[in-house]
């Protein structure tokens, strides 16, 4: 089940392959632009980097399709540590059922009774209010530009943007959020993933990201809402609203792969490694 922002984004990236395969089709819940514009900027006979799907070492017809002559089996280094395999797989199924039996129907009902601008506003509001996570993470990474941007975004969006419901900082000032978290911060400190863990409700993670996520929990103002029931309810609304924006992605992912558990693990680790490697 993919019911946190990080997982949703991960699956969006991974599944966009399937959303967009073949005739270049894609859906966007926000766009109303239907025009096709063609501007070709280059057609010089300079060969770009190869896609590596063919073996192009020889000029003759070589049918070996691998360009890297990789071994048949994965190297031990490439293996993802999964000592809690049976627990993780069980949690994967629990989350799968939670998604199909609870979260998805709830998100569909939510979609039916709320207009699009409301859902976008709710998403903006929750993103804005969790600024301390991104601010602290950027600060601890020594990224002063992003730290300043997050602070500026919060100031502008909380005032001009009507308590964060709108995002004028991005639209008019081009101050884009950096979406950092404490798991990424630990990763940038050189701390490895550790074992892969699938948590009920929260979905795929690693030992490092679990520590990071725990810290994020204490940095989120939503945690401190009183009474506790209010805090849980508000966070549930956040999850349902976020799920709306990725409805169909998990379904496609599950349909695409014969072994979705392994692919989810792989995609999660790859995605987080890419985020850690980002400048």
């Amino acid at each position: 089940m993919l019911n946190n922002n990080r997982s949703l984004h991960l699956v969006k990236v991974a599944l966009s392959l399937f959303i967009l395969v073949m005739s270049g089709c894609v859906h966007s819940k926000n766009s109303d632009d239907t025009s096709t514009v063609t501007t070709i900027s280059s057609s010089a006979p300079v060969f770009i980097e190869d896609d590596g799907l063919f073996d192009d070492d020889d000029d003759d017809d070589d049918d070996d399709l691998f360009s890297d002559d990789s071994p048949i089996e994965a190297t031990p280094q490439a293996e993802i540590s999964d000592p809690f395999y049976y627990f993780n797989k069980a949690m994967f199924h629990v989350n799968d059922k939670l998604y199909f039996w609870v979260l998805r129907p709830t998100a569909l009902g939510y979609k039916a009774i709320t207009p699009q601008f409301f859902r976008v506003g709710v998403a903006n509001f929750f993103h804005n209010i969790t600024m301390p996570i991104r601010f602290t993470s950027s600060l601890m990474q020594g990224d002063l530009t992003s730290t300043g941007t997050e602070l500026g975004r919060f100031a502008v969006n909380s005032t001009v943007g009507l308590f964060g419901v709108m995002d004028p900082a991005a639209h008019y000032l081009d101050w884009q959020p950096n979406n950092q978290d404490m798991g990424l911060t630990l990763g940038k400190y050189g701390i490895g993933n550790g074992p892969y863990i699938v948590w009920p409700v929260f979905g795929p993670s690693t030992l490092r990201d679990t520590v990071g996520r725990s810290t994020d929990y204490f940095l989120s103002p939503l945690t401190y809402l009183q009474p506790d029931k209010l805090s849980i309810t508000v966070q549930a609304v956040d999850k349902v609203n976020a799920t709306y924006f990725s409805l169909g992605d998990y379904e496609t992912f599950k349909q695409a792969y014969i072994d979705p558990y392994e692919r989810m693990k792989e995609f999660y680790i790859e995605y987080r490694e890419e985020r850690v490697a980002e400048e």
Binding site: V13, A14, S16, L17, F18, I19, L20, V21, M22, S23, G24, C25, V26, H27, S28, K29, N30, S31, D32, D33, T34, T36, V37, T38, T39, I40, S41, S42, S43, A44, P45, V46, F47, I48, D50, D51, L53, F54, D55, D56, D61, D62, D63, D64, L65, F66, D69, I72, E73, A74, G248, T252, Q255, A256, Y257, I258, D259, E262, R263, E266
Partner: protein, 217 residues
């Protein structure tokens, strides 16, 4: 001296011809993607069409622009029928021509289902073709990459090959992630544990689960 000048001019002309031919072909590849986009968008963005009609109209377009035989072959990689790389202890996992033909059929339907299943919303979108480039020719096929932007933010790159004077798409990269690499990884891992026939059974089971919305219905 005259001979040298003639030789130089001839070489220059030859080079210019080659450049023009290349540019011409790359433009053809771009035109193909542009045409595919326009055809698809006119259907997908048409609010008057039902999801079922969109599926029916789009499937022939998809099959005409993609080279599913090559896609399947590249997806199987070392395990494909014509590959020559040694498979060591897994030599019995190489597909026969018959198995590969079955795989191509099943995989085509699988990809079609994944795509067509997404056609259940009334969203609109735009496509901007941003760049075209040549890739090093292989197997006597010219290759090209056409980059595009969906809704001005998602990067989609198409890899195409020219064979028998026809450009066809053989891979799609979304934000740098290759469709073929993604499936190749999954099937390679499965083929370390299962035979080609067992993989075909699993893939056909996936397709049967889509009976209600099968790409070829």
């Amino acid at each position: 001296m005259k001979k040298i000048i003639t030789l130089c001019i001839s070489t220059l002309l030859l080079f210019a011809t080659a450049v023009n031919a290349n540019t011409h072909n790359i433009n053809q590849a771009t035109a193909l993607i542009d045409s595919a986009m326009k055809e698809s968008l006119s259907i997908i963005n048409d609010p008057a069409l039902t999801t079922e009609i969109k599926r029916e109209k789009l499937w022939p377009i998809v099959t005409s622009y993609f080279d599913f035989t090559l896609i399947s072959e590249l997806t199987l990689g070392k395990f494909s029928a014509d590959a020559t790389s040694p498979l060591g202890d897994y030599s019995d996992r190489r597909f026969t021509a018959k198995q590969q033909a079955e795989f191509t059929d099943a995989f085509t339907i699988h990809l079609g289902n994944l795509y067509l299943d997404r056609l259940n919303n009334d969203s609109q979108f735009s496509v901007l073709l941003t760049q075209s480039s040549a890739m090093k020719p292989i197997r006597k096929m010219q290759r090209a990459r056409v980059n595009s932007l969906i809704n001005k933010k998602t990067a989609i790159d198409y890899s195409l090959r020219l064979k028998n004077d026809e450009w066809r798409i053989y891979d799609v990269k979304v934000e740098g992630r290759s469709l073929i690499s993604s499936f190749r990884k999954e099937y390679s891992a499965i083929l370390l544990k299962k035979t080609p026939d067992e993989l075909l059974v699993l893939l056909n089971e996936k397709n049967l689960a889509h009976t209600d919305n099968n790409a070829e219905q």
